[in-house]
């Protein structure tokens, strides 16, 4: 780890993976009710090496390897949360989380309602999402948009090292279930982080780049492609504003609408499939709330409607890429 001396607090160069590990360590230290469980999180150090070293540091009571049974250990996490603990459940990928969907939707998201507010489920579920690692059609999908459909839970998508470091503790403090989606292509991403970086707010979108000509609305792994697209557009004199949603449920309508009010055009970049996507929801909200601000049809850059392919060139073609984002922005700006 490289240390950089800054004027006031130290800025540390770190990775998204290390930032999440630090967040978990921090939570385990702050609150003895916190524990982590999931497949291969202990001895193997996590499928994406996020939890490497934590078993040695915190022991098997708090870093628990589970059988390959997403429904079983997610249910156990729900029970532990109702019983007073603060579990972090790691699911290896969002594709596998479908085995636990019954627990998440029918139990975690509903118990507060079903029990007449007697029981809450202060549970955090982390999982990897997204394509780009040639893991083929059963490990590469982006289903966070499905989870954003469910009332009773919150859905987070950290895209920066600050959010990777800061969202977990805020999520653990929430009295209801929070799902955190970590994009597989971000784990190796480096970034600088203040050495004293800590919890961040959730529920607010962030403007990652200011611009006046078009709003590019995105989240998670697509954020950096979108920023690259905005940089390329700037070279052509087009000032794109990049909105990082950060929280997919509840959506921060105010920030989205304020941006569209300024730019009059929007393109939504979402690695989910187009049909019934989160991008579709955002598009509908813009039309409902900001129709008379719009100067062009809303554009969407989503994944192609296919199982994510294994071959690299097809995988790349199936998901949002910088040239597609640029083209969608130019379509929205045509004639303006």
């Amino acid at each position: 780890m490289m240390l950089q001396q800054k004027a006031e607090s130290q800025a540390i160069e770190t990775t998204y993976r290390e930032a999440i590990r630090e967040a978990i360590r921090d939570a385990l230290k702050r609150d003895e009710r916190v524990f982590l469980m999931g497949e291969d999180v202990g001895r193997y150090g996590g499928c994406y090496a996020v939890t490497k070293g934590l078993l040695a540091e915190f022991g098997p009571e708090r870093i628990r390897d589970t059988p390959l049974s997403e429904s079983g250990f997610t249910g156990a996490g729900i029970g532990a949360a109702i019983g007073g603990l603060r579990p972090i459940v790691e699911v290896m990928t969002v594709n596998f989380s479908l085995l636990a969907l019954d627990q998440i939707l029918n139990t975690a998201a509903t118990i507060r309602h079903m029990s007449g507010n007697q029981f809450g489920v202060p549970l955090v579920i982390r999982m990897a999402t997204g394509a780009g690692r040639q893991l083929a059609a059963q490990h590469s999908h982006s289903l966070e948009g499905w989870y954003a459909h469910i009332p009773g839970i919150k859905v987070l998508a950290p895209a920066t090292v600050e959010d990777a470091r800061g969202m977990l503790w805020t999520a653990l403090e929430d009295p209801d279930p929070v799902l955190i989606f970590e994009h597989v292509m971000l784990y190796n991403m480096t970034g600088t982080l203040a050495s004293d970086a800590g919890p961040v707010d959730i529920g607010k979108a962030a403007i990652r780049r200011e611009g006046k000509d078009i709003s590019l609305i995105t989240y998670g792994g697509s954020l950096w492609k979108t920023i690259d697209a905005a940089t390329a557009l700037a070279a052509e004199g087009i000032e794109a504003e990049v909105v990082d949603l950060r929280t997919l449920r509840p959506l921060d309508d105010a920030t989205i609408m304020a941006s569209v009010h300024k730019t009059h055009r929007a393109v939504i970049v979402d690695e989910g499939w187009r049909t019934g996507s989160l991008a579709a929801e955002i598009s509908a909200r813009i039309v409902e709330q900001a129709f008379f601000d719009l100067d062009a049809a809303i554009g969407r850059v989503c994944s192609e409607e296919v199982p994510i392919p294994y071959p690299r060139h097809l995988e790349e073609a199936a998901i949002p890429q910088v040239p597609k984002i640029i083209a969608a922005a130019k379509t929205a700006l045509a004639g303006g």
């Binding site: 008379f292 601000d293 719009l294 097809l314």
Partner: protein, 397 residues
């Protein structure tokens, strides 16, 4: 490539006859250049260009009458290739096409939605919501705009350009075709009397306050800046129209829609016969000095035969005065699709009752002709009274 289209020079205009081209293929044109003359039912109007570039092709021959919106010429924007044939929009790769290496490169812009079938004769105006809102805020008739968006859609920028459009005088002076104008007046007035059930009200208004105030103000001004009574009358009508929106707007397709802005059409006689009532935009918000300047400038241009297309299309209410000619009362005919015209006669010393005594006072007769489909006489009386009230305090106008 932009299409230069037959503009709508008024909400009731359906077609126009191209009477002269002032450009030929290959000519460079700037925004604001007069490039054609079109004869409409309102007269022969010089048509301004909005799209800088080169005239690529003339599509409509002189003497042809075409509906509003018909492309008249193609204008090639600067930098566009000389003879570009509009390629059909690339359709997405058909399913089953052989896989090919997918280097990430910019794909063609997404195909735009299929255009509406051509059988649809009454084409819906393509305008973005933001552009429509801005146009309404500025009282711009959207049918007079030309669009730069996909399939000619009007975008925010098109409206902004219209608002910021430098008021460029016609490249060359042109007189009006008085015979055509006579025909246009005949058509509009016949339509008005055929379709609009007019009602008429008259009210004498005492003008001592206006005359005294004008005298005191003008004593300090050089002759070319002096205020004329007409400015007070136009301003009072504009302010009253703002208070009573039912007299300011358009009756179309069986319904009245009040206009968001007050653009007073000022009836101006043309030497040699003929009449035109171009708009003084946002007259209710102009200071009297600004209004006077506008009126002077407008009269000057009309008399020299130069009028802008936007001024023709915009009036939301009309004011006509024949006082200078000695007329006591003027009963106007409403200019469709407007719904009211206010007339003024001469200011004449008249017997007036003040404090129970008959005294001589300067009095003007104000008349209102209004559309009974929209308002009733009672509302008309209130509207005229408001004009009277406003004219009693000219310093507040």
């Amino acid at each position: 490539m932009a299409e230069f289209r037959m503009p709508s020079l008024g909400a009731d205009m359906e077609a126009g006859t191209l009477v002269e081209w002032l450009v030929k293929p290959g000519d460079q044109v700037k925004r604001g250049d007069i490039i054609a003359v079109v004869e409409t039912q309102k007269g022969a109007i010089e048509i301004e260009n909005f799209e800088p570039g080169t005239v690529e092709k003339i599509l409509v021959e002189v003497g042809t009458k075409v509906p509003v919106g018909t492309p008249l010429a193609m204008i090639r924007a600067e930098g566009e290739p000389a003879t570009s044939i509009a390629a059909p929009v690339q359709s997405p790769t058909p399913a089953g096409a052989p896989p090919r290496p997918l280097e990430p490169k910019a794909p063609a812009p997404a195909p735009t939605p299929a255009p509406a079938p051509e059988a649809e004769a009454e084409e819906r105006l393509r305008i973005s919501p933001a552009a429509r809102r801005l146009a309404e805020q500025h009282g711009i008739d959207v049918s007079t705009l030309s669009g730069n968006g996909a399939d000619g859609a009007i975008l925010l920028g098109d409206v902004e350009r219209m608002i910021a459009e430098p008021k460029i005088e016609g490249a060359r002076g042109r007189g009006f075709d008085l015979a055509a104008m006579r025909q246009a007046i005949a058509a509009a007035m016949a339509r008005s009397k055929r379709e609009i059930p007019h009602y008429y009200l008259a009210q004498p208004i005492e003008m001592t306050a206006c005359q005294d105030w004008l005298a005191s103000v003008n004593a300090k001004l050089p002759p070319d800046q002096r205020l004329l009574l007409g400015a007070l009358l136009v301003k009072a009508v504009a302010r009253a129209a703002r208070t009573f929106p039912a007299f300011n707007g358009f009756y179309r397709d069986g319904a009245f829609k009040p206009a968001p802005s007050v653009h007073v059409g000022m009836a101006i006689a043309i030497r040699g016969g003929g009449l035109i009532a171009p708009a003084i935009h946002d007259a209710d918000g102009l200071s009297l000095d600004a209004l006077m300047t506008e009126m002077r400038e407008l009269v000057g241009r009309v008399r020299s035969g130069r009028i802008r297309s936007s001024e023709m299309a915009d009036p939301t209410i009309t004011v006509s005065s024949l006082g200078e000619r000695g007329v006591e009362q003027l009963y106007g005919i409403i200019y469709p699709p407007q719904v009211a015209i206010v007339g003024f006669g001469k200011v004449a010393p008249s017997p007036w009752i003040a404090d129970g005594k008959v005294v001589a006072r300067p009095v003007i007769n104000a008349t209102l002709a209004a559309d009974h489909r929209v308002t009733d006489g009672h509302a008309g009386a209130l509207f005229l009274s408001e004009i009277e009230t406003l004219l009693q305090e000219p310093e507040t106008l």
